[in-house]
Symmetry: C2
């Protein structure tokens, strides 16, 4: 019913679901550094832990804690640093 995917040799694992309006995933990232590419507009919300993020075209990094969100346009890549296991919800589309 819910598909599970893993990335980065299992250091990122996610479950696909649907919010009331958009397709989404909920996932967890182990400590590490990752680069993600977007195929559509994404809204990432931290559910537990923290993501330190370098958004597309930015030189600085920002940290997002539980309940905080950021968005990334389609066809971009962004960098993430994680220091504790971090749970997130990612919604796809607007």
């Amino acid at each position: 019913m819910f598909d599970v995917n893993e990335y980065f040799e299992g250091k990122v694992k996610s479950i696909a679901f649907n919010t009331d309006t958009l397709p989404a995933t909920l996932g967890v990232m182990a400590p590490g550094e990752y680069t993600f590419g977007t195929s559509e507009f994404e809204t990432m919300t931290v559910a537990s832990g923290a993501l330190t993020v370098q958004l597309p075209g930015e030189s600085s990094w920002q940290t997002f804690n539980a309940t905080e969100s950021f968005t990334v346009e389609a066809n971009q890549s962004f960098n993430v640093k994680v220091s504790v296991d971090t749970a997130y919800v990612c919604a796809y589309g607007k």
Copy 2:
């Protein structure tokens, strides 16, 4: 690295991880009604969607939306109604 479990014939699926202080799971529930038992103190936080919950010993139901939490003592059972796919984080222990 992150273990995946499923319950209720796959209508509830979860991934185990560790917060900075406690073992935890993140999971998603499909629409339905569920009864869960606790083996230890649990703090459930809704990450997306909503859980309508009948806590142990209560006759009334309360709805928890995204970012809202409730706790359940160890060795109790509680009932949950879900009307849209709902993502949650559950931390075990105090």
